[in-house]
């Protein structure tokens, strides 16, 4: 009964989304207030209906209702409750339902908080958002209905893919979707502005929080996925340049570019049509991401939820939206007149450099990702484009970006002096060079990766500190410290996020350059050394989990006479899904992770043991957390709460970034 209610709610939501995508649009064109106002209740009701539908599906998973085909395929009674719930989106149908739920949620926020928006613009935004909702709800209802029943319900289900039964991965998809779909909002804003024929500073101010939110969620989602891969796949890789990873990385890169170009629109009324184009492309790449993940057209390690036929339908949705948006852009972009004038040496120019680097980097990822497909179709060449290509072709852009970032962040608007900005950054530069030299001296004869990466890390962190300190003005230390606390949160957000990028870069370089690995057969009770650490395999036992069996090793780690700790790497087998997984034993440290994996029992006795020393590993995710934190800080800046229709108060303090 609850299932049928959920199904019915989804069909109703589809009808409402259709109304929402047509009526307000006509209303806005004809200036009919009544028709425009339809958008508000429609967006809210659509969200509530999809929430009911999603709740019904969740209920079916929680109660293990195996009369539902989807539950039977993806759940099991012995599964822990957490994974019963996350199993809702651990499959194609459920994840698409989550997707439309988030589309509707973002649409509803415009209805809730968008009172300050011009009514025609708001009606058009909600209409475009309604179209996106309608397209994807239709896709669910007609090709991937989660509410299909089975005639003969089985006693138990097939279980969720064991790899997905993990806290890191359980919350990876919702965050990614919040990010992908957050970009649908900026897409709607862009299209509404094109239809409206105008875009101004207020538009830029409205688009930024949505872009910022989308970017924060994408950052968290990608970091969770990468962290999961690190500890779960058993050899500590954190990024594979796999098509599906790239699919999430491209919107991330473009949303970073959009975030920065929207600042120029807001502050300086320039780069308008470019920002619109970026907003369109960013959501386009989000849909490409959905398409690649769901269609399996490119071979990927994420091959657990795909179906080529549905992929074609997704491709049609993607093509229709992109074609319509780009045609509209071509016809209307010229009305977006730039106002701001700026000199060559200015913040504007630096942000344009940022945008060029980021979009070209995204373009390289895109070309590399689809090249196997293109080469096979056009040149009849079957080939792979793997990590080595991206390392060579992509990395230089990030190095360049890191080099110019602190300078661009401190450059004044409109007209600046490159020399003066660099002079202010001189201490940061000296520090970074010193770090690089130190690293270079310490690791004689190894690659240049670590010195470069740590140089960038120090340069970005020190640059961000210089930036925030510079905002406190020129006076004695005490008033400056006091002012530091009163700076707008957006300033803090900017500094924290930029520093976070530096931390991540340093972490990646350190890990790749200095990782040590040891593979051996060890007897129980044996001690051995790996890169200065002692590893003692104390015991191997069999343990029983709720829905798996595991071989668990007890490994004591030490350095010299000091005991660092004991880790318990496991090798699990999930009998229902007949799949093994590894649980690495990791001793986390600030400067290094010790990473131990237990393997198979050997014929001659003993166990295969892999030990890694992974320097700076945690910095990669630490930096990502800092970036997300910076985004949240920026998002909580009072300007946005104010713009969101809160109390009317006078501005104070230094103008925010």
């Amino acid at each position: 009964m609850i299932t049928e209610l959920g199904h019915f709610a989804l069909i109703l939501a589809f009808c409402i989304a259709l109304i929402q995508s047509v009526v307000p649009l006509i209303g806005a064109a004809r200036r009919w207030p009544g028709a425009m106002a339809v958008a508000l209740p429609a967006a809210q009701v659509q969200f509530c209906l999809i929430a009911v539908s999603f709740g019904a599906l969740t209920w079916a998973f929680v109660t293990s209702d195996f009369s539902l085909r989807l539950v039977m395929l993806n759940s099991h009674t012995a599964k822990p409750m957490l994974y019963k719930i996350t199993g809702v989106w651990g499959n194609h149908e459920g994840s698409m339902l989550l997707w439309v739920l988030i589309v509707a949620l973002f649409g509803a926020t415009v209805a809730w908080f968008g009172n300050a928006l011009p009514p025609t613009l708001r009606a058009r935004i909600l209409a475009v958002q309604g179209m996106i909702g309608a397209a994807f709800i239709g896709f669910i209802l007609f090709t991937s209905n989660p509410f299909l029943r089975l005639a003969v319900p089985p006693m138990n289900g097939n279980d969720l893919n064991p790899l997905l039964q993990d806290p890191g991965l359980a919350f990876h998809p919702p965050f990614l979707y919040l990010g992908y779909v957050g970009l649908s909002m900026t897409f709607s804003f862009a299209l509404a502005a094109l239809i409206e024929g105008r875009i101004d500073a207020a538009w830029g101010r409205w688009v930024r929080p949505y872009t910022l939110a989308a970017w924060v969620f994408l950052t968290i989602g990608i970091a969770l996925g990468s962290w999961w891969a690190y500890y779960e796949l058993g050899w500590g890789g954190f990024w594979f340049w796999d098509p599906v990873e790239n699919a999430s990385f491209m919107p991330w890169l473009l949303s970073v570019a959009l975030l920065h170009s929207a600042i120029v629109v807001e502050k300086r009324e320039s780069l308008k049509s470019w920002t619109i184009l970026l907003a369109i492309l960013a959501f386009g790449f989000s849909m490409v991401g959905a398409f690649i993940t769901r269609s399996g057209v490119l071979t990927s390690v994420h091959a657990f939820a795909n179906d080529p036929e549905r992929g074609v339908v997704l491709l049609f949705i993607l093509a229709a939206f992109m074609l319509a948006a780009l045609v509209l852009f071509a016809v209307r972009a010229h009305v977006m007149q730039a106002r701001g004038v700026f000199a060559l040496e200015s913040r504007e120019t630096m942000l344009i450099i940022n945008n060029v680097l980021l979009t070209v980097a995204a373009f390289i990822v895109f070309v590399g990702t689809i090249w196997p497909l293109v080469a096979e179709m056009l040149f009849d060449r079957k080939m792979s484009v793997g990590a080595p290509f991206f390392n060579i072709a992509f990395t230089p852009f990030m190095v360049l970006l890191g080099l110019v970032l602190p300078v661009g962040a401190m450059m004044p608007w409109k007209r600046g002096k490159m020399g003066r900005t660099i002079r202010a950054l001189r201490p940061a530069l000296v520090l970074a060079v010193a770090v690089a030299l130190l690293v270079w001296a310490m690791q004689t004869g190894q690659s240049a990766m670590a010195p470069i990466g740590l140089f960038l890390g120090a340069w970005l962190v020190a640059g961000a500190a210089t930036d925030i300190w510079g905002r406190t003005g020129r006076s004695a230390l005490r008033p400056r410290l006091a002012r530091l606390r009163r700076l707008p949160r957006a300033d803090w957000g900017k500094a924290v996020a930029h520093a976070g990028l530096g931390v991540t870069m340093a972490g990646i370089a350190g890990l790749l350059a200095w990782e040590a690995e040891d593979i051996r057969v060890a007897q129980v009770g044996e001690r051995f050394d790996v890169a200065g650490y002692s590893v003692w395999l104390r015991d191997v036992t069999e343990v029983e989990g709720p829905n798996y069996r595991a071989t668990r090793a007890e490994v004591q780690l030490g350095r010299g006479d000091r005991i660092i700790g004991t880790v318990f790497p496991e090798k699990r087998v999930y009998p229902v899904a007949a799949m093994p997984t590894t649980e690495a034993g990791i001793d986390n440290g600030f400067l290094r992770d010790l990473y131990v994996v237990i393997g198979d029992p050997q014929t001659g006795g003993g166990w295969a043991v892999r030990t890694y020393v992974k320097p700076l590993a945690n910095w990669i995710w630490g930096g990502a957390i800092l970036m997300a934190l910076g985004g949240f800080l920026s998002l909580s800046d009072r300007r946005y709460r104010v713009a969101a229709g809160a109390r009317k108060t006078a501005p104070e303090g230094v103008p925010a970034e």
Partner: protein, 150 residues
Amino acid sequence: MKRLCLVLLLLAAPLWAFQPDEMLDDPVLETRAQALDEVLRCVRCQSESIASSNAEWATDARRRVRELLLEGASDTEILEFFVARYGEVVLMQPRTGGSNLLLWLAGPAMLLVGGLGAWLYVRQRGMADEPGVEALSEDERARLRDILDR
């Protein structure tokens, strides 16, 4: 119970990519072998190198790499050996020749185009006259103030 676990462990595909008994005794050769493992793709898997894959095919490929190294083959010869049998698809890093030039040059070319476009835009913005606030009507200015000052 323990026996059942062992049976299950043996039944399950070897989870582990690289096994200790595969390693060569000569550390120099083994380093070379591991470098080769990274650039050879497991053609039976989903975009994974043979170094990280746990498929049987990857295990065989790793053994083959080591056999060839012991026979004294150079790195290029080993790559050629695999390309001859399985085609270019076995290389993780696409070659630069032929149509792949497009792939390798796409990034730099795009940077050139983007950089040029940006340069032209920046120059044009630098020389343009600022329309200033006068270009707005009184109404619009009031609204803008309202929005920005709130």
